[in-house]
């Protein structure tokens, strides 16, 4: 299960970010932000080879001592759900692309994916 889920805009600012142990939010933010370097690296590397059929799965981005950071994957149900939910958000005519995501449905979906903090 995930402890932190973040949707990051193309320009690398967070559209949505949520983590379960809320007291450690800052740390997760830092981790996510730092992982973006790897995402950028991977994307630019792939982009040269085959721009069209780019694999969406970026795999392990950044292992820290406690957690592993994954890039967007399609081969797991979890990420597909997230993707679908994100697509729904994007399809909302009232959503302004680039704004932070404030959707209850998306929130709920993410909550399901999260570690249930006891």
């Amino acid at each position: 299960m995930a402890v932190c889920i973040a949707v990051i805009a193309k320009e690398n600012y967070p559209l949505y970010i949520r983590s379960v142990p809320t007291q450690n939010e800052l740390k997760f933010h830092y981790t996510v932000h730092t992982s973006l370097d790897v995402v950028e690296e991977k994307i630019s590397a792939v982009g040269k080879a085959m721009a069209d059929q780019r694999e969406l799965y970026l795999g392990l981005l950044y292992p820290t001592e406690d957690y592993k950071v994954y890039g967007y994957v399609t081969n797991s149900k979890m990420f597909r759900k997230l993707h679908n939910s994100f697509t729904d958000v994007m399809c909302n005519p009232f959503y302004n692309p680039g704004d932070t995501i404030q959707s209850k449905a998306f929130d709920g979906m993410v909550s399901v994916m999260m570690v249930q903090a006891s």
Binding site: H33, L36, V38
Partner: protein
């Protein structure tokens, strides 16, 4: 890694240099002391050799030694550092001191790195890291497993001034031997048993005998050989002569640093707690020793602080020293090393074949051949394995080190490689790791490297050092070297990983190291081919964190600031806030309060996403920091960021706040800050003001007119400086917004202003502010009052207030509903800071010219810059008994009180209203005294002035007539159209003195339409003292009146065909004719509860020409009472008044009021309330008619002589005129209303204006008119076409009347012809001359004439052609002749009329349709 000053090769070479010990005699020490230096220090700047040296390797190959540096140190026999592998406390302190003193230069070189969207400003070099590294490597204790920093040689220094220098040399030599071989000392460590001893004779040029020195040197040469000794001559210069000569000081860069280190080190040592020393696990001795050294050097440097180093040395001396070093190195040290390498090589070669097999064999036999199975865990046991110093295993390592030191890296590598294998097979892990490390380094350093750099060697070495040997010190060194090498090979990623690995463990002691390494790792990330900005930033933050843990605040701050560049403004608000918060804290502790404040401000002002508790913490911290900042410098109040002030929403109000009611009195509403600004209303008030100003200035609005604005806001016109009056408050309303989730408490809010005195009047004392306090949640208003005491220019600049968070005591979180604390400064429980915020209002955007349209420029906004003017009168208006609901047309009397509350007399009081017909103050010129009785005495009295009707008179018969001029009622003086809404208020003496108040009666009349009416009054007044900046002042009042329906009056006028019957009537009156007026009154009141019934008390008329004559109602006073929905009809005769009355005073037209009372008292309609409302009725009858009609009479006389020049327009109006009546009917009523079980009589009046005969007029003007939409017309409207007067209109020119007896008896028997005299009266209704043709000829073709039995004939002249002057009545005697008895219609004469000067075109028959029947009776 950041760029370094040294190249990698330089760095590694300098890390491992040959070590030379110094033993110095006391005299020699004295010689060098003259320069504030000891011997080793004296040599230090010259220890790098500039020329190349040569040596031969064991294979007799010449090896070039380039750029060699040697390290010369005094022999210190005390053990400096225990070989525990962890840095000692002293060492740590030293390192931390080195790092903290080395700070980036202010405004130093920073290179901008562009990576993706990021432009980062990063310091290119990290000198603190290099300093750390250098110090770290230098302070490495000599280890047993390696020889690189063991002493290779020893300089024995003796002064030439010594009595027997040779003996001294001997002594020193013995000393050295003792130190090395006695076993008393573990320190220092020596490389080779037979250490090179080099004998140096130091000669002081300024003191000693040079010849003697030379001779001693010769002796030494004999004794030790020319290559083993040296004569060094120094101190050529006398200290006294040094002042005027400038000699470069090469020592400073070496010694300054070290002395500083030592000096501050002592301080830091002294400040440390002794207990801490004990717990640190250091041997106290070492610390004491270090301290002793430090004190020693400190004392030295303290003395030296004044005099610089090397004061007795000339440049020649410098050269000599340099030469000495070179000589020593090339003639002494290098050959010594060469020799040793050769020896070692020989030993090894001789042993080679045997040793390996022997060793391994013995090991197999004795050790059980357990090498391959051994895991790392088991290997740990062997980490403590120590070879004896002379163990053969170490010889190869020793040789390798020697080779390395003289830059023979190939040989060194192979030796290290071999040694590594040996050590590994021996499970001597520490030794193996050392060998691996050096093998890797030498592999890297090989020129034109045949083999790649074996990075895995390094990794293994580091791992071994760290995990097996637990020697972090060595691991760190290894990592530093490796990272530097990797960096040089552009393997930044590997270098970063390596560095991060070194920091990953969390042992609190190594914060400084971790910080530095993390920072270097961050630099690695940014230097990658694809710069990893975010990793850089993250590691910078980690580094900053460790720095701050290590107490390196400055570095921590720098790291955070650099990381900030990446996070800033990218939406990572949580991280951004965290960084800002840390920056704020660090800046604060570093006494950079400005930075701290700005960082905190960032957290608070950016729309914070933090939780409220976090925000509260931030706020508290901010306030605390802020307080300290302001405590330091309280010269100018600093700007506070919170709460936000919506500057443009600021409103400024001039004047006192109004009391709305005072007892029964109801004050004028005026303007208050509580009202919202309404553009339409503002325009309406402006119009009113313009009207009243125009009337005050004889109909002209002055060019400088500016509408009074009492309350300025963002929508008002703020281009001019507003005018405020001295001693009248200025209230500023400021809108605050709190962006935080935590409440803020503002207290002691006051305005900040600047006042410039201007000489409007004599100076007075200065103005003072105010105090106001409140707590704040989301958006709050604050009103601040300023009371100017002097005239001049005031500028309101901003606000000053105390800002505090809510005290954190329990239960205050619910303080959203403004916990008002108005008493004084806030209690001391929360920190509060005093600061200011400026009010800067941007004016409206200019959009006039093209330039303004294309650019964005804003106009000025002068809201906050009022000019204080001398005192002006101030009026207060109160209303008494002012109703809120009225019936339509109801008359009510109320009172107004005018109060001059200022110290200046007031005059020119006027009032203008949107509904001028709603009220009247009465007419001043009337003789009726204005009764200033108390209003209570008038209760239940009629508002009208009444007279009891004479008892004998029948109601409705007598019409009292009064003549009144319109001018008496304040109308008509300025001409027809202007200033209709303005009324002057009749004040006594026309002036209201200071403090004086007057009560005036005010009559109100309910509006004609039902509904709620908003009625606006604008009182205008001037100062009796002229010449002020403010020409006038105004006071606004708005009332809402609810009008309900009362009566509806319809009236019609009919021409009466009959002539007045009374013989007594005067000729004139008869000629003028009369009219019938039907008045139809309907009770349309729908409010059943209130009004019981209406009584029509009186009907009055008002006209210039007509008056009501008498009531000719068939039924007596039955119609006077009207219940709900009842309708009554009244019928009156009206007569035209004598023209004489109208013409006597032609200049002022008089209105004739005629009262027909239906009750028992007559209301004098020509007096105040009634006539006032009649004249105030909107619009007055004069302006309703085209102006032509007014002048007709004058024109008529002129046009009589004139030809047919008069246009059709003239004609039309003439013709119309004759159909016009100008009669206004005033219906006065009383309503009986039950109110609170009490019957109240209400009075009222309704007006009906009759204009045209036969046309119905109604008291209720048609609603449609008002509601009709005005069509937008784009084409200019065509002038109405010239219309001829219609036939119908023309037919009313002449009124005809036949006068004859109703029946006529005639004896036909006696006389067959019956002659009846008939008089035809012709009356010209028009004001023009009319030609009339009367045709009596029988041409009746109408069927009705056939019905008439028989016919008759007119006798005599059958055709008359007459001319009738205006309004002339003419009688034409006619005779009719009848032959038989019977009924005849006499109405056969046909009358044609045309206007005299219009030719035939307008001729028309003036047939009266009514038959005139006559009965002829045969009188037998």
């Amino acid at each position: 890694m950041a760029q370094c000053v040294q190249s990698v090769h330089e760095f590694i070479q300098d890390s491992f240099v040959p070590m030379v010990a110094v033993l110095c005699s006391e005299d020699a020490e004295k010689v060098t002391r003259k320069n504030n230096l000891n011997f080793s220090e004296l040599l230090r700047p010259f220890c790098r050799l500039t020329s190349e040296g040569h040596m031969r390797d064991p294979n007799n190959q010449v090896q070039v030694v380039k750029n060699l540096r040697i390290s010369v140190n005094n022999v210190v026999t005390r053990p400096s550092v225990p070989a525990s592998g962890t840095p000692s406390l002293a060492q740590r302190l030293l390192l931390s001191e080195v790092v903290s003193t080395c700070q980036p230069a202010e405004g130093g070189v920073a290179n901008v790195i562009t990576a993706g969207d990021y432009d980062l400003n990063i310091s290119a070099t990290t000198p603190w890291f290099e300093a750390y590294r250098e110090t770290f490597l230098q302070s490495m204790p000599a280890a047993d497993h390696e020889f690189l920093n063991h002493y290779l040689a020893c300089l024995l220094v003796v002064s030439s001034s010594e009595a027997v220098p040779v003996e001294k040399f001997l002594k020193l030599s013995q000393e050295q031997h003792r130190i090395q071989h006695s076993g008393e000392y573990t320190n220092p460590k020596w490389f080779i048993p037979n250490t090179l001893k080099y004998y140096v004779l130091l000669h002081d040029m300024s003191q000693g005998d040079e010849h003697r020195a030379d001779s001693v040197y010769e002796d030494m040469k004999q004794r030790y050989g020319a290559q083993g000794c040296y004569l060094l001559k120094v101190n050529s210069r006398t200290a006294a002569a040094g002042a005027d000569e400038q000699i470069p000081d090469p020592w400073s860069q070496y010694l300054h640093k070290s002395s500083l280190q030592n000096g501050s080190l002592v301080n830091s040592l002294d400040s440390t707690h002794p207990l801490q020393l004990d717990t640190s696990g250091d041997t106290p001795g070492s610390l004491d020793a270090l301290r002793a050294v430090a004190v020693e050097t400190k004392a030295g440097t303290a003395a030296a602080a004044a005099a610089s180093h090397g004061a007795c040395l000339t440049l020649n001396d410098h050269d000599r020293i340099r030469q000495f070093i070179q000589e020593f190195t090339f003639r002494g040290l290098l050959p010594h090393i060469e020799k040793n390498i050769r020896q070692l090589n020989d030993q090894l070669v001789s042993r080679k074949g045997l040793s390996r097999s022997l060793f391994s064999a013995t090991k197999k036999w004795f050790g059980g051949g357990k090498v391959p199975e051994k895991s790392i865990a088991e290997l740990k046991n062997t980490s403590g394995l120590l070879y004896p110093p002379e163990a053969p295993e170490l010889q190869i390592r020793k040789m390798a080190d020697l080779c390395f030191l003289v830059q023979h890296y190939e040989l060194a590598y192979s030796c290290y490689h071999t040694a590594k294998k040996d050590f590994l097979s021996d499970q001597a892990m520490l030794y193996a790791a050392g060998a691996l490390e050096m093998a890797a380094v030498s592999a890297f350093l090989q020129g034109g490297a045949p083999r790649p750099y074996p990075a895995h060697y390094m990794d293994t070495a580091i791992q071994t050092y760290r995990d097996v040997c637990k020697n972090m010190h060595l691991a760190e060194r290894c990592a530093l070297l490796s990272a530097e090498i990797l960096k040089s090979q552009a393997k930044f990623s590997d270098a970063a990983t390596l560095l991060i690995k070194m920091t990953s463990e969390v042992s609190g002691d190594c914060d400084l190291r971790s910080a530095l390494l993390l920072e270097q790792a961050a630099h690695c990330f940014i230097n990658m081919r694809n710069p990893m900005v975010r990793k850089f930033a993250f590691h910078m933050i980690l580094a900053g964190h460790r720095f701050s843990k290590a107490g390196q605040k400055r570095h921590a701050l720098r790291c955070y600031c650099q990381a900030m560049q990446v996070y800033k403004g990218k939406g990572w608000s949580l991280a951004e806030d965290h960084i800002n918060f840390t920056i704020g804290r660090q800046s604060f502790t570093l006494r950079q309060p400005e930075n701290a404040v700005s960082a905190f401000r960032h957290i608070l002002t950016n729309e914070s996403q933090q939780a409220s508790s976090q925000q509260a913490a931030f706020l508290r911290e901010y306030l605390y920091v802020y307080k300290n900042v302001t405590g330091v410098c309280d010269v100018a109040l600093p700007q506070l960021p919170l709460p936000y002030i919506n500057s443009s929403a600021t409103r400024v109000y001039f004047g006192h706040e109004r009391r709305l009611a005072e007892g029964e009195k109801q004050a004028a509403t005026h303007v208050s800050l509580d009202q919202e600004f309404d553009r339409d209303l503002a325009a309406m008030w402006r119009d009113l003001e313009e009207q009243v100003v125009a009337s005050a200035n004889r109909g002209v609005v002055p060019a400088t007119f500016q509408a009074t604005q009492c309350c300025l806001n963002s929508q008002t016109d703020n281009l001019r400086f507003p005018l405020a009056v001295v001693e009248e408050p200025i209230i500023v309303e400021v809108v605050f917004r709190n962006p935080l989730k935590v409440p803020l408490v503002l207290s002691d809010v006051s305005l900040l202003w600047k006042f410039t005195l201007k000489d409007f009047s004599r100076p007075q004392d200065a103005a003072v502010g105010d105090a106001l306090a409140f707590s704040n949640e989301k958006e709050t208003l604050a009103r601040l009052k300023l009371l100017p005491h002097q005239t001049g220019q005031l500028n309101i600049l901003g606000l000053v207030y105390n800002l505090a968070s809510t005290p954190s005591t329990g239960g205050t979180t619910v303080s959203s509903s403004a916990a008002l604390k108005s008493d004084g400064p806030s209690p001391a429980d929360g920190t509060s800071v005093r600061g200011r915020q400026d009010l800067e209002i941007q004016g409206p955007r200019l959009n006039q010219t093209k330039e303004e349209k294309t650019s964005v420029s804003h106009g000025p906004d002068r809201r906050l810059d009022p000019t204080i003017t001398p005192p002006m009168p101030l009026l207060e208006v109160f209303f008494l008994q002012f109703p809120t609901a009225l019936l339509c047309g109801e008359i009510r009397k109320a009172y107004v009180e005018f109060c001059n509350v200022s110290g200046v007399p007031l005059c020119g009081l006027r009032v203008v209203s949107t509904h001028p017909d709603f009220f009247t103050f009465g007419s001043s010129s009337l003789a009726t005294p204005l009764t200033p009785l108390s209003p209570t005495s008038f209760e239940n009295c009629s508002a009208y002035k009444t007279l009891a009707t004479p008892p004998g008179a029948t109601p409705g018969s007598v019409a009292a007539v009064t003549l009144v001029s319109a001018g008496d009622f304040g109308l008509g003086e300025g001409g027809s159209g202007t200033s209709n809404g303005v009324a002057e208020i009749p004040l006594e003496d026309r002036v209201l003195k200071p403090g004086q108040s007057t009560q005036l009666p005010l009559w109100l009349r309910g509006p004609d339409h039902e509904g709620v009416h908003e009625i606006n009054f604008l009182f205008y007044y001037e100062s009796a003292v002229k010449g002020g900046k403010i020409s006038h002042r105004v006071l606004r009042h708005t009332v809402f009146i609810c009008a309900s329906r009362s009566l509806c009056v319809r009236a019609t006028a009919c021409r009466s065909n009959t002539l007045p019957e009374e013989e007594a009537e005067e000729e004139d009156e008869r000629r003028n004719g009369s009219m019938l007026v039907f008045v139809d009154v309907e009770n349309i009141n729908t409010n059943e509860a209130g009004v019981r019934e209406f009584h029509i008390a009186q009907v009055s008329s008002s006209s210039k020409q007509w008056r009501l004559h008498r009531c000719i109602n068939p039924a007596e006073d039955k119609d006077c009472k009207l219940n709900s929905r009842e309708r009554g009809k009244l019928c009156f005769r009206a007569t035209r008044c004598k023209p004489v009355q109208g013409t006597i005073m032609t200049s002022i037209e008089k209105y004739i009021f005629a009262d027909l009372s239906l009750g028992n008292e007559q209301i004098i309609s020509s007096t105040t309330p009634c006539a006032d409302f009649f004249f105030r009725r909107c619009p007055p009858s004069d302006s309703r008619r085209p102006p032509v009609a007014v002048e007709t009479q004058g024109r008529l006389s002129r046009s009589q002589g004139a030809g047919p020049g008069g246009g059709a327009e003239d004609l039309t109006s003439l013709v119309r005129k004759c159909n016009e009546v100008d009669l206004d009917i005033i219906v006065l009523w009383k309503a009986f209303v039950v109110e609170d079980n009490k019957q109240v009589i209400l009075e009222g009046q309704l007006h009906v204006a009759l204009q045209t005969i036969g046309k119905e007029a109604c008291s209720l003007t048609q609603k449609e008119e008002a509601q009709e939409m005005v069509l937008l017309k784009f084409k200019p409207e065509l002038p109405p076409p010239m219309t001829r007067p219609s036939m119908e209109q023309l037919s009313h020119l002449i009124k005809t009347n036949l006068h004859y007896p109703e029946s006529y008896r005639h004896p036909f028997i006696h006389k067959s012809l019956c002659l009846v005299p008939v008089t035809l009266t012709l009356s010209n209704c028009s004001l023009a001359q009319v030609d009339v043709i009367i045709d009596l000829r029988h041409k009746t073709t109408s069927p009705e004439s056939l019905e008439v039995h028989g016919s008759f004939t007119w006798l005599g002249q059958t055709q008359y052609k007459l001319q009738l002057r205006a309004q002339e009545v003419m009688r034409v005697p006619l005779r009719a002749c009848f032959l038989h008895a019977g009924v005849y219609n006499l109405g056969t004469p046909r009358v044609f009329a045309k206007l005299a000067d219009q030719g035939a075109m307008c001729e028309t028959s003036q047939q009266t349709a009514t038959p005139a029947l006559i009965i002829i009776i045969n009188d037998t």
